[in-house]
Amino acid sequence: MLEPLQDEFMRRAIAEMTLIGIAGGALGCWVVLYRLSYAAESLAHSIFPGLVLAAIAGAPLLLGGAPAIVVAALAIAIVARVPGLSREVAVGVVVTTMFGLGVLLALSPGSPPGVQELLFGDILGPSNGDIAAAAALALVVGLSLLLLHGRLLAGGFDRGAARSLGARPAGTEAALLVLLALAIVVAVQGLGNLLVVAVFVGPAATARQLSERIGPMIGIAIATAVLAGFAGLYLSYYAGTAGGASVALAIVALYLLSLPASRLPALLNDEEHLPAGTTIG
């Protein structure tokens, strides 16, 4: 059981994944409650050309991902102004264009070998810089969510009334999207462009099954993300599977396990056998 921990690369991978799990689990709860899962996936895919350009230039991926996400956000805002196009269509058009551009660049003769790591990640080889970035991310996300908690809770519950309660839902949601973009740019290096969204949606969805309060939900989501990180990395170590994909599979497995577990209170308590939505009084 402790054998994988003897290896330096596994210890570093576990440290990286734990820090990303803390940020992803906590932030993911708000992503799920604000129904931003599609936005999270879209943001992740839209940074692909930036990552490829950074890889071609030999620059840190962060330097390619950050401007790409800003370009994608601006493009979505512009396309959404076209009469007759909804925001959802605008996101679809921009993200497909950005991802297609990234694939073209990745398949060009000038692209370096191993560019597929951008799609599937390299969680087993984090640098000191990667771990420092993940630590900074966990700190910034944790602190920001702590400060914004009251406003986030009110805005997600009742967007219509939130302004009259002093919650400024548009500003709160914008702050949430900025945090999400930041987290994706940092986490994509380990988990890859195609799989990174798993850490922002899966653990929170699992926690939602198991908790009816936001505090415990955040705690369970963080624990789930960290546990899935351990499980995935151990699977990768012993089965020789890809690290990022193994972590994503572990996240999905924990979600599937949570489905019957969430029914346990109903099975143990006769009063809970009422169908969903039943009201009394």
């Binding site: 129904r35 519950f157 009259s164 919650a167 309060r213 936001i214 009394i280």
Partner: protein, 249 residues
């Protein structure tokens, strides 16, 4: 504006993207009064509530709101799945007086508990909001307005889907609120509810009539408001509205 008047609208028009959804709205509401907003779906009741909340600026005319408004909206499906207790929801009313970085603390949660006590739900403070009945949810949202110290309560079809005991409890609570000097605006389809209000405002994208119920709730006004013909149902004495394009065959 007269002393004691909390809301005054003069020829108000409000709407979206510069296009009016309501126009010609004029009324004044004083402390301790209730105003029933009558009108069909899409007639502009919610638009007027949003204008009173300050979410929509007047396109033309004037609107003065001299006290804090608390809204009791219709419950949305997403709110039933939201991981909050009745106490959490009531405590949200304290956010308007806290700096942006602070969440409701011990003092605000104590205020929220007190407000839940006032609406008769202290025992259910820890219950998940989505598991409460429709009437209980309305009372939790009124408790949120109490914590907010709202002197004007805006209720969007609060009696929809409620059984009779829940409606009576809610109506008694609204009565207690007006007795304390709060003004209450109720968007409703219920004519009897409107008759018990101090004032009625009939709205169908424009103001059809406004004033005391005995002066406004007559057949021509209701026909103009709902765009149909009022008929008496045989045997019961009750009235119903026939749609505008009804034809006998």
């Amino acid at each position: 504006m007269q002393a004691g008047t909390l809301i005054e609208a003069r020829e108000l028009a409000a709407g979206y993207d510069g296009r009016p959804a309501i126009s010609g709205v004029s009324f004044a509401l004083r402390r301790g009064e209730t105003l029933a907003l009558l009108g069909p779906n899409g007639g502009g009741k919610t638009t007027l509530l949003r204008a009173l909340l300050g979410e929509l600026a007047p396109l033309t005319g004037e609107l003065e709101v001299r006290a804090r408004c608390g809204i009791v909206p219709q419950t949305e499906r997403s709110q039933l799945d939201y991981p909050v207790s009745a106490l959490d929801v009531a405590a949200m009313g304290a956010l308007s007086r806290l700096p942006w970085w602070r969440r409701p603390g011990r003092r605000e949660r104590s205020d929220a508990t007190e407000a839940l006590e006032r609406v008769g739900l202290r025992d259910l403070a820890g219950e998940t909001f989505g598991k409460l009945s429709g009437g209980q949810r309305q009372r939790v949202l009124i408790a949120r307005s109490l914590v907010q110290d709202a002197q004007i309560l805006l209720l969007d079809e609060p009696f929809s889907g409620l059984d009779r005991p829940s409606s009576e409890l809610l109506e008694a609570l609204i009565g207690a609120m007006t007795d304390e000097g709060r003004a209450v605006v109720i968007a409703t389809h219920d004519l009897e509810q409107a008759r018990r209000s101090d004032q009625v405002l009939c709205l169908n994208r424009r103001q059809v009539a406004a004033g005391p119920p005995e002066q406004t709730l007559d057949v021509p006004v209701l026909e103009a408001t709902y765009g149909g013909t009022i008929v008496e149902l045989p045997g019961s004495g009750a009235r119903a509205i026939l749609p505008p394009h009804h034809h006998d065959h």
